[in-house]
Symmetry: D2
Subunit: 428 residues, 4 copies
């Protein structure tokens, strides 16, 4: 997580201010639950709610002495609340606060990521609708497809990612207030239930000192899968923008300089950047999974990992999704280039149709394949025109009439199901 | 995947026999759909169903020549079916067959893994029920918990993993019969729908030449998360079995030799082995994610990865889950050692209760902490008894009566919510 | 490791036959050392050398009973050697044999990989020399370079990889015969020295029960780096072969069918395959690193990992290097296409020269950049010719004479240092 | 990289201030080389050296407009230097500056890491020397070793890591000033040589627009291997500190609070933290390797990865090494506990000696194994004393005299080679 690749809404989640705010909410809510159960004086809970506050510099100062963040926090809170503060945190263990807070932060982050995905879906959908009649043809040319279908593919993929993100959010939307080893020895389970409900979480059915980390492994693995999809779409754009293809280009603003040395260059720098950001987010999945096997009722090894990848993974993916959305929204699309690129292969993109026409006319599949390939190779190697070659091949014309052969070269044949596919992806 | 860590039911899924069987089923079913739509003669589909077959050696022989596996397969099938075979595969692309087959194999593998998880859940549940009153206490001793709770934690974690596995299965349970670039140019979408239904799959809403690989990334990431949970439970057992702890032991059969050099050694070799297997399965998640960003309508780079990690990941995780189930079923549990280990700390495990009793009696949290810590340190450093020290500390006895102090040392206090937690995990 | 991506010389290293052969050599050599030190009868060592042998089926049979592979092996050897066999393995621990054997296998594998790299270096060098005057220009077109330089880059990179591989070989070329916890309690250190020398290894300065696994982590990390270089060169070829670029192509044999559906397609399938193989080999680095932190004097968790990635990583990388060498050797290179692609941009590839000429003529860098960019943009957007535009721009001609402007469009300017770079890379 | 896990000397390397300082040094030194070659006026180089400077806020401001960091930097420098600044950067490409700078930063980081390793080696050596007679015995008890040997193992491992770090530093200690595609079209190779020498780097033999990233992959893979060694030593300490073992403990300062709930707890929090930090650093190896396969003469995808893992990996590993050094220096070691733990197994740790004595006395290995195991099992299961059992077993006493049996229980036997091993590791 570096400012260059960060957005303020997401980084705010990981600021100390927000963390301590959540801690305080957990402690005060737990105190209210205790008061309701008659475990502590109502006045104590009311005092905590009314005067609860903290001072970050003061917390840092205390932590330097006691080397324990929650104790430092509680001391600072006590300085605001007064003597009633001694009822706070009663029976809780630090992890009750830390883990529930971490999960609150992750669900807040998930909400932003889901909104990011919604933005990307909207942009993909708009571009797909705008270009459903455009035609692009790529890689080693196979057969025609449309640019709209490419974006529909992206839409469908990110729609799946949205569902995964919703699922990942649910994974971590749990609350544990269960004490030092998860037995509720000093803390009534009803406190957990109360706090969970107030915070919009579910109680963790069984915890140790901590919330089990398979949940977080699944969460960060989901971010890694989504990052991989970002890489896919970014890679597509990089290919489309390369000089020899140039069917689409990232938006290039007026004042922007592409290269300090070569003024004409217009590189797909955003898409290349997205490819790198995807690598980073993917790399966090492994440490998150290594965090699962904590020793016994917990060790603290997961903590340093999460202090880093919690912000790093969510902030970077948020930035990447927003950047990708911008790229899609601003994409400059060149249908004439798509047509020109398709025309490059002298009609070879229709080879399979000819193959099928031959077999339909009774030629064996093996013979048909040989007939098509021998004419295709001449086109490939000698820059001939495929249709002309076929019409001049007596073995081909023995099986197919000229009209039938010409019919195989109709582009509309390839796009006849586009509407149906769009309906599948975007609904009717 | 090596025989040492494989089970036949899972490896059978990845045998050429099974793969070609699925290919044939796809081709024949597709032909039946075409026949029903009037696209090919009914007799062709019937011939394919009646005489469809293949010869693996023959396929290998042809593939060495044509260097294309699906063409080799179709040629062998044609040698069984006869001339009607030329209607097979009409309009399909190799990937239609390969990808749908791969997904069928993955769902078959998922079914075994789900059954494995059910076995592990049963074993965990049985052991948890058997030991819900045993007591174990670990790491740097914190507070008492029970061995049954440890197994209930494992149960809950693998129950989550089961749900993830069901979800992962659904991710890949799709079928694509959409042609060379996914446009259905030569193949009616109704064929896909027909085949999907017959094979128990859903049609892929939009594909390129291939089924999008974010699905498979999510699938293998799920296996990696489950493997991480295997590592967690295996690590727990390794700790419990270490000489100084020895609260549980893997079953050790009569003829088994633990060490070529040291006949007394009884190592937790299965659990250690499981730790290694978990690393392997986790390692496959990254290449699976790198497979997502295929170029344009597909490239073939994912294929070599999947040829290896398809079998390797599923076979190894299947083996690991079965092995772990065996370990849990056969686990030898030593409650007396648990008690002995708990007694080691001279009563320090009750320190928090004393702390709470002091604050309840009106001592400030900071003072209470100091009082407890100064007595705890004597126990820790000088092997004293915590209760004796507390009773001899006038600052403590000024706040608490002897009876109250003694009350804090009741183990039952810590286990009073075990039944409730069990009900949460296992239901009532 | 699957047969499809394996070569026999490398797989042979990992066959049981080879493993047991090495085990036997270690045991017999150790016995000879013991005999020389007077620790066991000379006759015992001689019997072991003369009659030493084993039977793999028998070993399997015994292992099924005793569940310990080294004991099973020794029993089988004893059945060949006779009663003198009881002196074998005296004071050794299984890991002495297993780990030294694993390192022997890894050095054997390293030797093949080094030879593979030599083959690849030779192929890269030959192709580089053959094409040092060819010219290619790629990506978003920047400035001209030559195809020979591309291969020289590959050569330099694989030359570094060769040095890394030699270093990785040295990392694992150690021998430990130090007993159950590495203290030489039952085994004289001179035995280790003797065996090490006979096997061409160095004694491990200090071992636990096992050879420390940081060595193997470094070894497999090196394979992963080399695999990443394979991916880089394969990616370059994939780009060069794409329809719109087509400056080079993988060799395509006569009988080969590129696609079951589209007979004209000639995909860079080998390079795509190499990309996937690289992902797989890279994925093994993480488990190898996770193997480092064994517990205490060792646990056995590394074993299952190494049983798989030992063969998988070396066999797959060997296959990949051999395949890549074949691709480079057979590469079809199209210089006319390189020229045609360079001509596409209407001379824009010379923009930086013009920029420099302007600044040399006293124009400020900012002004020069603006002058060049405004003409470049017309070329880019309106398909104009860069030279014509410049000559028509009064601000440009005010600073530069027509002759000077024309001089900036000389290709030879860009290749004048090619020989010097070649000398750096290949020596004089 | 977060402040909590950072040290200022390392973070300073990655501050904008240091980056721009290096950029300026590269530009000015390159200008001096150009002046010496007569390519630009000497006065220009002198002006750059004399008045060269930059303003970070100004750079940020310009970059927001032009979206190009090197152009923004050069503009700010020009504002300090005056009109002579137009000769700066002549013929260079941004990557010449960026990549050479990144390598300078990495070598600076490497120097700190090497110094860190020296500190850790000194601490390990001191502790090893201090405890070479202490005795520890672990895991499932095998045979006696000494605590000093454990630290000597760590020393040897980090000594290897130091050599790897030196090698990794050399990997990245290169300089490229070769222009837009690495052809030196606009920049004389002698400029590169001049700058390289002044900066203490080697010229990159052949570059594209960028320095090849296999170098950096090897660099970050090395950090990952070192991190794995950190994890190993940290794991050892965590095991030694667990309540039931407690042979060593992290230093625990007076004011420190171990747990907000349990005042007696003294957790190995630093070692647990180190385990997590190791996971993080290891996780960066994969994106670094994925950076190798840049497209053609470069794409910019590596940049975002390196902006993050450059600082993150070096800062985190620096912090981890320093923390680990502190842990080793302050470690509290408890030899009496080691002795007590060794005594726990009723003498079983001597079982292999008895086994060897039996075979030396002519008993077959299989029989000896059975004799030892049946007595060992009684000790294990019924808490008997191994020596007593052996002396009472007529089959044992038939082969060995009582004196011989007693001789096998001498601890000194196991430590007789410790001095020799120390000499191997630390030199004489």
């Amino acid at each position: 997580m570096i400012p260059r690749y960060s957005r303020p809404q997401m980084t705010a989640i990981w600021e100390p201010e927000n963390k301590f705010r959540i801690w305080l909410e957990i402690e005060v809510t737990a105190a209210e639950a205790m008061a309701e159960l008659g475990l502590i004086p109502k006045a104590a809970a009311e005092a905590a709610r009314a005067r609860g506050g903290f001072d970050i510099d003061r917390i840092d100062e205390i932590e330097r002495e006691v080397k324990h963040d929650v104790i430092a926090f509680l001391t600072s809170v006590a300085e605001h609340v007064g003597p009633e503060a001694r009822y706070l945190h009663a029976g809780l263990t630090s992890s009750d606060v830390l883990d529930t807070c971490f999960n609150v932060q992750l669900t807040e982050a998930a909400d932003i990521l889901i909104a990011d995905l919604d933005g990307l879906l909207a942009a993909s959908s708009a571009q797909a609708q705008a270009h459903d009649h455009g035609r692009a043809q790529h890689g080693i040319h196979a057969e025609p497809t449309t640019f709209g279908l490419k974006l529909a593919q992206a839409y469908a993929e990110f729609d799946r990612n949205r569902a995964r993100m919703v699922q990942a959010r649910a994974e971590v939307a749990t609350c544990a207030i269960s004490g030092a080893v998860g037995t509720f020895a000093h803390v009534d389970p009803r406190i957990e239930a109360y706090v969970a409900e107030k915070l919009g979480l579910r109680p963790e059915p069984i915890s140790t000192q901590v919330i089990p980390r398979d949940r977080h492994a699944a969460f960060f693995a989901t971010l890694a899968v989504i990052a991989s999809s970002v890489e896919r779409l970014a890679t597509e754009i990089r290919h489309l923008q390369r000089t020899e293809v140039l069917e689409a280009e990232e938006f290039f603003s007026k004042g922007q300089k592409g290269s300090s040395a070569m003024p004409h260059k217009r590189n797909p720098v955003l898409s290349e950047n997205l490819t790198g950001l995807a690598r980073i987010v993917r790399g966090y999945a492994i440490p998150a999974m290594e965090n699962v096997a904590l020793w016994h009722e917990r060790d603290i090894s997961h903590s340093s990992v999460e202090r880093m990848i919690g912000p790093d993974a969510t902030v970077t993916l948020d930035f990447a999704l927003a950047r990708l959305t911008g790229v899609i929204e601003g994409l400059m699309v060149y249908p004439e280039r798509m047509q020109a690129n398709m025309d490059r292969l002298g009609g070879l993109i229709h080879s399979q149709r000819v193959l099928l026409a031959l077999t339909n006319a009774g030629v064996s599949r093996e013979d048909a394949y040989r007939l098509v390939q021998r004419n295709a190779m001449k086109v490939w190697q000698e820059n001939k025109d495929f249709l002309t070659e076929l019409l001049a091949d007596p073995d081909v014309t023995a099986a197919l009439s000229e009209e039938t052969i010409r019919d195989q070269f109709d582009l509309g044949y390839h796009t006849k199901h586009v509407d149906e596919i769009f309906a599948r992806v975007f609904g009717d």
